[in-house]
Amino acid sequence: MSSLQSFLHMGGYAFYVWSAYGLSFIVLVLNVVLPLKREQQFFRALIKRKERVSKNK
């Protein structure tokens, strides 16, 4: 068995160890991406509203 394979195998605990790390990774990344996206949406919505207002003037 190569050393990479044995690393991934985690002494038989692969499922438990890698699910724990994978899940943590997903949750941590989502917590960065979602607020950034929301901020973008916020600006887009307000810019749109402004443009509507200035057009109606």
């Binding site: 690393f7 160890v17 943590s24 960065v32 607020p35 916020f42 810019i47």
Partner: protein, 247 residues
Amino acid sequence: MFEYFYKYGSPRHFYDLSKMFVPWLGGICLILLIAGLTGGLVLAPPDYQQGEGFRIIYVHVPSAWMSLFIYMVMATAGATGLIWKVKVADALARASAPLGASFTFLALVTGSLWGKPMWGTWWVWDARLTSELILLFLYLGYMALQTAIDDRRTAARAGAILALVGVVNIPIIHYSVEWWHTLHQGPTITKLDAPSIHISMLVPLLIMALAFMFYYAAVVLLRARYEILENERNSAWVCELIEQRRG
């Protein structure tokens, strides 16, 4: 001193200042994460009893620590907003809740993934696990309050009170393993004598804990920025920002 505090505590200053801090905090967090993961997954030796399975410690324990720490930050910020009406404190409390909930969730799930092979069960209703689950419900309750109440000032006040009521749970979680017989083992690091973990395993753990701390600092600022924009959507400086973005 209070003048200084109010000046830099003003939403606008906070918004500008945080923009400067986020990349630095994020960068340090990434470096620490790489170091901690290399140390924890590759360099640290397997445990004499749990073999490679013990490596879950490097996400489980920092997550659990953060779940308690963030709650204290949230309650303190909530009380500050309640008493001194500091808007930035309200935003910080509101921004902390989803992060605290995330870390509590991770502590519970990674603990479960660790418990299955080692203890022989995904879940037990012992004092440590149950009090940590209550912490998750406190965070979720706080978040539900924030969405349910439209007026953001009222929501902040209600949330602060809920957070303060829940503070009692924090020492219970910490001391549960000493006060009652639990399946969960006693503290490894925070006991008064030397920690009962070998130094080669301890160092990556502390690095990971520090990485999670920087992660929280960076992301809570990121989230608080959005909360402040939402709070101040009709103020002059936010309108200015929008003009800049259009142009």
